[in-house]
């Protein structure tokens, strides 16, 4: 009798432990955390929603809908006049992230425009001119196509060069074709290979980011102000090396160091 009671207790304990572990595991699932966050957002509980969406991002969960809703939570806090410094920047970062993950996301595009317009309107209220920054020529050229496109174009040139090398020693039309192909392909390779190389180096060494402070001033790596215009909130920047509490950013043609906490690096796909 006593032995069967012990067995019963042990079995019950085991079942309870399995259930507890199962529940804990279920709570830890990103999909469940997203559900919690989305429900809080639906009820207007933006603080709880922000906490949950940020926890989701901390877990490394990357999904355009999670990023989009996170942006909405920050906008909701701004609309409730309970905003903290940088909320619009954080919202813009979330929408940028959603667009990075799903480039055709129309809602994220609209929301991002609204946030940036509000930032501009708010700056105008403080008589700050809007600043127009243009990317440097290298970024413009590299940005014309994807890294993979540059790579395939360089590969095509490489094949053309090989074909030219085969044809050139032959006689007649083959020789003419080879004589044209070889120099053309060499020039193409000399142009396209560096572009492919640079595009890859940029992908590996930099990340997209958004300024999440009211505005940040660029400094040198010792923290000394560089002068020039401050980078406004919600501005997209290219984030490079990180050194201590500073991060190297490039904003248009301006580059320098800013506090790393003032820039949100977007989640990579």
């Amino acid at each position: 009798m006593r032995a069967s009671a012990k067995w019963l207790a042990a079995t019950g304990l085991l079942v309870a432990m399995v259930l507890a572990v199962g529940t804990a595991a279920a709570d830890d699932r990103p999909e469940d955390l997203f559900g919690t966050a989305a429900t809080a957002l639906g009820h207007g509980e933006y603080a709880a929603a922000i906490d949950a969406f940020e926890a989701l991002a901390d877990q490394g969960f990357v999904h355009p809908d999670a990023s989009y809703d996170r942006g909405l939570a920050y906008v909701m806090r701004y609309r409730a006049h309970a905003d903290r410094a940088g909320d619009l920047g954080r919202a813009a970062a979330a929408f940028e992230e959603a667009l990075l993950l799903r480039p055709g996301d129309h809602d994220a595009d609209v929301a991002l425009d609204l946030v940036r317009a509000e930032v501009t309107r708010r700056r105008a209220r403080h008589t700050r001119d809007s600043i127009d920054v243009r990317p440097t020529l290298d970024r413009v050229v590299i940005g014309l196509a994807s890294e993979e496109t540059w790579g395939f174009a360089a590969l095509a040139m490489s094949l053309a060069l090989a074909l030219g090398m085969v044809l050139r020693p032959r006689g007649g039309r083959a020789h003419i074709a080879g004589s044209i192909l070889v120099p053309t392909a060499i020039v193409g390779l000399l142009v396209l290979s560096p572009l492919a190389f640079r595009a890859r180096a940029l992908r590996l060494s930099t990340r997209s980011g958004v300024v999440i402070a009211g505005e940040v001033r660029l400094t040198d790596d010792q923290g000394r102000a560089l002068g020039g215009e401050p980078v406004p909130e919600a501005a997209s920047v290219e984030v490079g090396e990180r050194r201590g509490a500073l991060a190297h950013v490039r904003w248009g043609s301006f580059e320098g160091w800013v506090p790393a906490a003032d820039v949100r690096v977007l989640g990579a796909p």
């Binding site: 830890d28 997203f34 966050a37 989305a38 639906g42 009820h43 207007g44 509980e45 933006y46 603080a47 709880a48 906490d51 949950a52 940020e54 926890a55 901390d58 877990q59 999904h63 809908d65 999670a66 989009y68 809703d69 806090r77 701004y78 609309r79 409730a80 903290r84 410094a85 993950l101 799903r102 809602d107 609209v110 929301a111 609204l114 317009a117 509000e118 309107r121 890294e147 993979e148 790579g151 360089a154 590969l155 490489s158 094949l159 090989a162 090398m165 492919a196 890859r200 999440i212 402070a213 923290g223 000394r224 102000a225 560089l226 002068g227 509490a245 506090p259 906490a261 003032d262 796909p269």
Partner: protein, 628 residues
């Protein structure tokens, strides 16, 4: 000028020059504050004047603090330290940097003295703080009180509240009671035989926000000297809290250092909380001693302690966890009243108690229609048994703009419990508030609500997504890294390699073809023919083959086509081409013998063998000549 040694001036000048170079014109000047530790002191009683000069991070930093007290007030000690203040109350970090200079003064006679404003160098200017007035009364003979210290301060807060001079230093004698030996303070070796400074930390590996006890000891084997200047450990990456209530007043103890007994004095002890992850340096503590048996100012520096700081684990991290919230906390709440009118306010009082790094702010359950105003904070935090703890209250006014039964939700504080090694969540449920609806006040003219909201710029904002939609992460690039460069480089390299190897094969074939007709090969062929002829006993064929071998060997060795040369002239021609006369003669003789054999119907076999041997020897000799 601060008595801190020449490096201070140099450092100040360097900082100033950097500031000028950094475009100081655009920067805001430092915020100066001057504070005296007392407004009334006795003659001979030490007091301090403190100057703080803070600027926003990135602006040029102030340096070279200076004070010029009246003649009857003597500066008996000074310290200067850098300061970093991180303010996170507004939701984002605001970092201020600067310097803090403390002068210890002693009045020589009673009276009312005004100390002119201490000054500090900033860019090319010298800025002044505010003057300080001190009332000095006659000495009462009572022991001098020590200055208290705020127990909870941001990084770079007050440095060591050291007594000047060193305890017992003025008398030049050991404390009255016999110090006892403390084995925990034993060290394997002494960096200096007479006096040195050392620092200790109780943990070398912690998480962000976890308390580390940092203590400073002076070890000495000499009579107690005075500390004429001290420089705090920078501790820029830490938040510090004073643990020692009266630093520098602890009874000295004995400690064994490398087998030698030293007097060890605890100069200061503080709790430090790392602000971020990494291998964080405490920096050096430096003292300058004078007196005792030290005839000249003697500087000693402690070691730079390195603490390995990590973040608490990501796995199992609760939503809303703020890095640095480490300790053991409880949270309680009180909400009053529970019934209000729409637009009215309730008071929410949250009390956070426990030990560790008590958070400066709480995350409240904000939601649409419920406005949480900035809280009023009260706190009582002090070390208890070497652990920082106490309580902090947050008094919120919460304005409710909606009507009905409004659930205020619950306040949660997730924290990392280092003792349990896991996350915990302190919770306080706020409950519901009954809100009676009211009509909005209308403007009598426009008949519109008086406090109508501003137009919403986000009115066209798309809605939220209740569920995760389909999303496929982008595929990895087909060509990436070294594979891409391999593919790009391969085609021309392969074609090039193929054509080069084909060319090489062609050349090798040509070489082989040309080698077939070389004199050396033909000589060997002729000698082989000679062997066959000799074996068959064909004298004519033998002579012809030997003759051919000789001609070819001569051609190979000298380039001379000897068939067109008379045998009589041959030795001379060969000598002209560098061959020894004996060899030329031997060759000519061999040619003669060949003619003899060719035209002899029955040649002597021994003659044939002799001829073959001579020709072979000549050919071999010619072959060597060529090689040479």
């Amino acid at each position: 000028m601060i008595r801190g040694g020449p490096w201070l001036g140099f450092a100040g000048a360097a900082v100033a020059s950097f500031a000028v170079a950094g475009g100081a014109l655009a920067a805001s000047p430092p915020r100066l504050s001057v504070q005296a530790s007392a407004t009334q002191v006795e003659v001979g009683e030490p007091f301090t004047v403190e100057l703080r000069a803070m600027v926003q991070q990135g602006d040029p930093q102030p340096a070279n603090a200076d004070i010029n007290p009246p003649r009857d007030l003597n500066v008996v000690g000074s310290s200067e330290s850098s300061q970093v203040i991180v303010d996170q109350t507004s939701g984002r970090a605001s970092v201020q940097v600067g310097l803090r200079a403390v002068w210890q003064l002693v009045a020589q006679r009673p009276g009312r003295f005004t100390i002119p404003a201490p000054t500090v160098q900033w860019t090319s200017r010298r800025l002044s703080g505010t003057p300080v007035t001190i009332e000095v009364v006659a000495a009462s003979g009572k022991p001098h009180r020590r200055q208290g210290s705020n127990p909870f301060l941001m990084p770079g807060g007050p440095g060591f509240n050291l007594p000047f001079p060193f305890p017992g230093g003025s008398q030049g004698e050991e404390p009255s009671s016999e110090p006892h030996a403390v084995p925990e303070l034993a060290l394997p070796s002494a960096p200096d035989a007479s006096i040195f400074v050392t620092t200790r930390v109780d943990k070398k590996s912690v998480v962000v926000g976890q308390q580390v006890s940092f203590s400073i000891h002076v070890y000495r084997r000499i009579r107690p000297p005075q500390i004429v200047s001290n420089h705090d450990a920078p501790l820029t990456d830490f938040l510090r809290v004073q643990l020692a209530k009266n630093p520098g007043t602890d009874q000295p103890v004995y400690a064994m250092v490398g087998g030698t007994r030293y007097v060890a004095e605890l100069i200061d002890q503080m709790a430090i909380f790392p602000l971020h992850a990494g291998d964080l340096h405490t920096g050096q503590v430096r003292f300058t001693f004078l007196g005792g048996t030290l005839r000249t100012p003697t500087e000693r520096a402690s070691e730079d302690q390195i603490i390995h700081v990590t973040e608490p684990p990501r796995a199992g991290r609760p939503a809303g966890y703020t890095l640095g919230d480490v300790g053991q906390f409880t949270l309680t709440a009180a909400v009053e009243p529970r019934r209000i009118e729409q637009g009215g306010e309730v008071a929410v009082s949250l009390r956070l108690a426990g030990t560790g790094n008590l958070p400066q702010s709480l995350r409240v359950p904000e939601r649409t229609g419920v406005e949480w105003l900035e809280p009023e904070k009260k706190e009582s935090i002090e070390p208890q048994g070497g652990v920082v703890g106490g309580w902090r209250t947050f008094g919120y006014v919460v304005r409710v703009k909606e009507s009905g039964s409004i659930d205020l939700g619950e306040v949660t504080l997730p924290f990392w419990d280092p003792a349990a090694g896991r996350y915990q969540v302190a919770r306080a449920v706020l409950g519901k508030v009954e809100v009676k609806p009211t009509m909005p006040a209308l403007d009598p003219v426009t008949r519109r609500p008086v406090d109508a909201a501003e137009p919403d710029p986000f009115v066209t904002l798309p809605g939220a997504r209740a569920a995760l939609g389909a999303y496929a992460p982008p595929r990895r690039p087909l060509l990436d890294g070294s594979m891409m460069w391999l593919f790009i480089a391969a085609p021309p390299l392969l074609v090039g390699a193929f054509s080069m190897s084909a060319g090489a094969a062609r050349r090798a074939r040509a070489r082989r073809e040309s080698a077939k007709d070389s004199p050396a090969v033909l000589v060997q062929k002729a000698l082989a023919d000679a062997d066959r002829a000799e074996a068959s006993g064909d004298g004519k064929a033998l002579a012809a083959a030997l003759e051919r071998a000789l001609h070819l060997a001569i051609e190979g060795a000298t380039g001379l086509k000897s068939r067109g040369v008379l045998v009589a002239d041959l030795p001379e021609e060969l000598a002209a081409r560098g061959l020894p006369a004996a060899l030329g003669d031997a060759i000519a003789s061999a040619f003669g013998a060949c003619d003899t054999v060719r035209f002899d119907p029955e040649p002597d076999p021994s003659m044939i063998r002799d001829l073959a041997a001579r020709v072979r020897a000549a050919v071999a000799d010619l072959g060597q000549r060529k090689a040479a």
